[in-house]
Amino acid sequence: MAEESRTKITHAGKLGYSFRRHMHERFIETFLFLSALLSIAIMLAIIVMLVKESLVFFQHVSIWQFVTDTQWTPLFDDAHYGIMPLVSGTIVSSLIALLVALPLGTIIAIYLSEFAPFTVREMAKPFLELLGGVPTVVYGYFALLFVTPLLQIIFPELPGFNLLSAGLVMGIMIIPYVSSMTEDAMRAVPMNLREGSYAMGATRFQTAIRVVMPAAFSGIAAAYILGISRAVGETMVVAIAAGMQPNLTWNPMEPAATITAYIVQVSLGDLPHGSIGYQTIFAAGLTLLLITLLFNIIGHVLRKRYREIY
């Protein structure tokens, strides 16, 4: 009888509060919390690193000169530090890419979401995903050695390095991102909206354009914003196919450097740590980060404002 009650007590002890078990849980929770905090640490580290080196840079070069000077020749004896030539290259190549990626991506998304039979969709989606997985350096190779010679047949005066072919290939590269996010947004629109539209006698095209797309607007806007920041931040295609010569131009038929291509060009050389050339890439990087951040904020606002809740 006494023995039986003793075993009962030990069992109760096992089920009750255990210090070791509690500490174990606490320890793991702390580790998980710290790894989640890491993402904030990375963001802060990026900002601190870019701002710190850029501040040193802006002690040498005034922000006014940085924004208004029309030449970017930081590595020459006669150094000019105007970011505009790099920004113009970035804008032109991104615009060409977006002119390809946004319409094609949207059309593909509408087709896959509203028109395509099940089997076509099941085959096309993984294929587009594979297309998005091809390394960017391979797209760069393709732009330089396939698309540029092809374009030179149409425009014989086109130079070997140009923004046009880099932008076109970049556009093809971004299609999968835009189309898959747009399609996800459209498929999230509830079926009864479509059924209502069909019941009124609308065709699939009318339903897609007038009912589904407005309902999915916030998701589509997010897809476009992602496409824009991809285009602005894309590096290897422009570094390989557009040449790395800073050139203040709005003409896509000319060679030019983008912000990213400049960073690559400097990194390929052997610049000593702490020199002004070293600091320029951080100032260029900060400009790039601010541009992408601006688009992220616009995307966030659009999403918040036009979100439809069903």
């Binding site: 174990h24 849980e25 929770e29 580790f31 998980l32 919390f33 790894s35 989640a36 905090l37 890491l38 993402s39 904030i40 990375i42 963001m43 580290a45 990026i46 690193m49 870019l50 710190k52 080196e53 059309i107 593909i108 509408i110 087709y111 896959l112 028109f115 587009l128 594979l130 297309l131 997985g133 091809v134 390394p135 960017t136 350096v137 391979v138 760069g140 190779y141 393709f142 050695l145 396939f146 299609i175 065709t203 699939r204 095209f205 009318q206 931040g233 590096t235 290897m236 390989i240 990213t260 960073i263 990194s267 390929l268 890439i281 951080f282 990087g285 790039l288 980060l289 992408t292 992220n296």
Partner: protein, 308 residues
């Protein structure tokens, strides 16, 4: 509004709308074909140029000044070692972070900030991660232009991918599984480690593979770190014949990786080097396509098998 009471007129309007429907459908197929054909052209062009260069020697020789004897030995060894570091850093941290956000995190401002921040990190251009690694890992922490610095840079880059995949995989497990575990007296971590993680392992694995496939092809951050392009030697072997058998000397060794080797060959004017670039690109594309294909297959299997 115009009233349409003539049957003929209604038929005409319907016909017009149906025509537009058909036109758009054809446009959709054409757009899809443009994407397909571009990919085919890319692959075919590389295959034609690169295939003749692919041989056993190509994989077992170092880069060289003579294009016909140059190979990718140091590049693929470097890629393998960098990926080891990346996986080693990104997998535990990404899964830990995903588990925390999905299972542990209280609903407060900090959690919301972390969530927004993960989305923002996914949108930061990869070259910015390169600048971070250059300033922080290479100079501040003194890792130098090493495999360790490159692996960590890529780990930071793919962290959001792993986090999002983990969260989605865990979220799809029904609440009843958790309730069952708690009802049997399991602690939170026991529930997570014995039930949630095993059940979501396929989804998490898919995310890890997609992340690593992206990291293999990333060139910009590694160039920014200042990786050398001409490396005619291998890093010290991680396995030693004498005790303690494992060595970490290779972490601090200079290196090159596949995409950098390819970039180096593309940017040379001689055509013979560009054939090498095609061959290296072919290897790279096959590698990333195989990994992405595996991920797609895993997801397909998962969708077919799991019915909660």
């Amino acid at each position: 509004m115009k009233s349409v009471n003539n049957l003929e007129e209604i038929r005409k309007i319907i016909g017009l709308h149906k025509k537009w429907d058909l036109i758009f459908m054809i446009t959709g197929i054409v757009a899809l074909m443009i994407a397909v054909l571009t990919f085919m052209a890319l692959f075919a062009h590389m295959l034609i140029d690169g295939m003749p260069r692919l041989s056993w020697e190509f994989f077992t020789s170092f880069p060289s000044r003579r294009p016909e004897s140059a190979g990718i030995l140091s590049a693929w060894v470097g890629t393998t070692l960098v990926m080891l570091v990346t996986a080693f850093a990104a997998v535990p941290l990404g899964i830990g972070s995903g588990v925390y956000l999905e299972e542990y995190a209280p609903k407060n401002l900090l959690t919301e900030i972390i969530e927004i921040n993960v989305t923002n990190l996914a949108g930061v251009p990869s070259i910015i991660y390169g600048l971070l690694a250059l300033g922080l890992f290479v100079y501040q922490l003194g890792f130098g232009q090493s495999i360790l610095a490159a692996g960590l840079a890529l780990a930071l880059l793919i962290l959001p991918v792993v986090i999002v995949a983990t969260r989605e995989a865990i979220r799809s497990i029904p609440v009843s599984i958790r309730e069952g575990a708690y009802a049997l007296g399991a602690t939170k971590w026991q529930t997570v480690s014995d039930h949630l993680l095993p059940y979501s392992s396929a989804g998490i694995l898919t995310g890890i593979i997609i992340g690593l496939a992206r990291a293999i092809g990333e060139t910009a951050p590694i160039i920014t770190i200042g990786a050398l392009t001409f490396i005619a030697f291998l890093p010290p072997s991680p396995v030693k014949s004498e005790f303690p058998y494992l060595s970490i000397e290779w972490l601090t060794a200079p290196f090159t990786v596949m995409p950098i080797q390819m970039f180096n060959w593309v940017s040379r004017p001689e055509e013979a080097f560009q054939l090498n670039a095609a061959a290296a690109g072919l290897v790279l594309v096959v590698m990333t396509l195989a990994m992405n294909g595996l991920a797609i297959y895993l997801r397909y299997r998962m969708r077919k098998n799991i019915k909660w």
